[in-house]
Amino acid sequence: MDPIGWLGHILLDPLGRAFFLRALIAAILVGTVCAVVGTYVVLKGLAFIGDAVSHAAFPGVVAAFLLGANYFVGAAVAAVGTALSIGFVSRRTQLRLDTTVGVVFAGTFALGIFLYSTIHGFVMDLMGLLFGNVLLISFNDLLGLVVLGLLVLAVIVVLWKELLYATFDPLGAAASGLPVELLEYVFLAVVALTIVVSLKAVGIILVVAMLVTPAATAQLLTVRFGRMMALAIVVGIVSAVIGLYVSLWADAASGATIVLIETALFLAAMTLGPRTGLLAKLRRAD
């Protein structure tokens, strides 16, 4: 068989199908938004908060279903509300941040399970909620994703340098007049919206990987902030596209496949990276 023709066949054929095209657009958008926001999340050390907020979206989604409200509204209200309360509590109490997050994390998820168990007849797709399925995304869902995704990107573009300064040196930034506390809350809201955008694609359990892994991979490869974000976007998009095709061929869960590709790229950067790579370190040790 002609290998080039075969490859073209495999890559181009799915593009003719509307569901795949929708999934591709959604996955690329999610990959981009998660990489951009994830760069700040990784540098701020907020990975655990991302995980907690994604679990907090669960009761919001179930409540929206029970009340007949919009999916995105339910998820966004729950996620943003939780993110802001974690921020508030961590600033006002003596408890360590990871303790607070741990409590909120489990509590909100339990509320989601509780609400879900009151629905009889399993009309809602629990697996889809927990693990996502971007291949099943509807046109209206895609529209919601695009609106929220662009909103998140716009906030980051506007606050780029202020967020950078406040992330790097919160004390210096606050003393020179930047509203660091307000920026912190805005950023937590942005993280929450990013998670809402990603839920349909990768689900509650794996969102944190989309947020953290591309940025972590990029941090292994560069020492400049701008380049770190650019590289994270590349990793996010490449993983989304490859993951989507692989999940189609292998008939496997799309979210998990995307996250596996991201993880593979992270491991590659960790072993082969010119700066921090284990191979380079071994060579230097000689």
């Binding site: 540098l43 790097f168 004390l171 210096g172 902030f225």
Partner: protein, 281 residues
């Protein structure tokens, strides 16, 4: 030089973290153009004093006026440099990136740095002798170079008031002299410089005024004040050890005030990374 403007005025100020007081009944007066060293033992509240002036910590009571306004209201005219361990040195920024941040607050929202900002950054780097390292990631700098970079960031902001937390702690003698020359020059131009320090010799020789802190300001005046054993005893109390007519100071420069909740510290990263990481330089 002789104008009587007071840049920092604190009266009856108490402040602390949670329910624990770090400072009580503080009275402090810093005339414009001062080069003031804030000295005192560990946990005496030196950093807390600086944070109150910087508007980073709201005092529990008393009145504070900074550059003629309540703290935080004249923030654009203030440059604050935190202690070295408050910074994540593995953060992906270069020397030039850090110094450029000093320009951000005056730039305003959305705007990106322009030619004037780049010039100010280049000048500041030149002044601290770090122009050749401008593309270096901050983690591969030595302790002294890191303090130089943060002073450059403060210079690039062109402030009227410098607030520096331990700017010469853990740096080599040359760097200490260089940094003090720069601060002295800024004070001569009428800017006010307030720096906490553990180094009494440096405070006595290189600063013009001192404020001795031990949970309150116990003494303030010309730098020669801290050569007076009585004043020293007031500031250091139990930290002083008199052996055979010699006075020794028992203190640990790496300890600092209790942190506010939510602050991140990076003690593990505070040593220069160059030696064990290989890589640059």
């Amino acid at each position: 030089m002789t104008d009587e403007r007071i840049d920092i005025l604190m009266e009856d100020v108490s402040a602390g973290y949670g329910t624990k007081a770090a400072l009580e009944d503080v009275h402090l007066e810093v005339p414009a153009g001062s080069l003031l060293a804030v000295v005192g033992p560990n946990g005496a509240g030196k950093s807390t004093l600086l944070k109150v002036v910087a508007g980073l910590l709201k005092p529990w009571s008393g009145s504070v006026e900074v550059l003629g306004k309540p703290p935080g209201r004249a923030a654009h005219r203030i440059a604050y440099v935190p202690q070295a361990e408050m910074v994540d040195w593995q953060f992906p920024v270069t020397v030039e990136d850090v110094v450029t941040m000093g320009r951000y607050p005056k730039l305003g929202w959305v705007k990106r740095p322009g030619a004037a900002d780049r010039q100010a950054v280049a000048d500041a780097l030149e002044q601290v002798g770090m122009a050749d390292h401008r593309r270096t990631q901050i983690g591969s700098l030595s302790g002294g170079q890191r303090r130089r970079v943060f002073l450059a960031r403060a210079l690039a902001a062109e402030p009227d008031l410098f607030l520096l937390d331990e700017p010469v702690t853990g740096v080599d003698a040359t760097t200490q002299e260089d940094l003090m020359d720069i601060l002295e020059d800024q004070a001569k131009r009428g800017r006010t410089v307030v720096a906490t320090t553990h180094d009494l010799a440096c405070a006595a020789q290189r600063f013009q005024r001192v404020a001795g802190v031990n949970r309150t300001v116990v003494a303030q005046g010309p730098a020669s004040l801290i050569l007076d054993p009585e004043v020293l005893a007031k500031i250091y109390g139990g930290h002083l050890l008199v052996v055979g007519g010699q006075t020794y100071l028992m203190d640990d420069a790496h300890h600092h005030d209790e942190a506010a909740s939510g602050e991140r510290h990076f003690h593990a990263e505070s040593e220069p990374a160059g030696t064990h990481r290989g890589g640059k330089d």
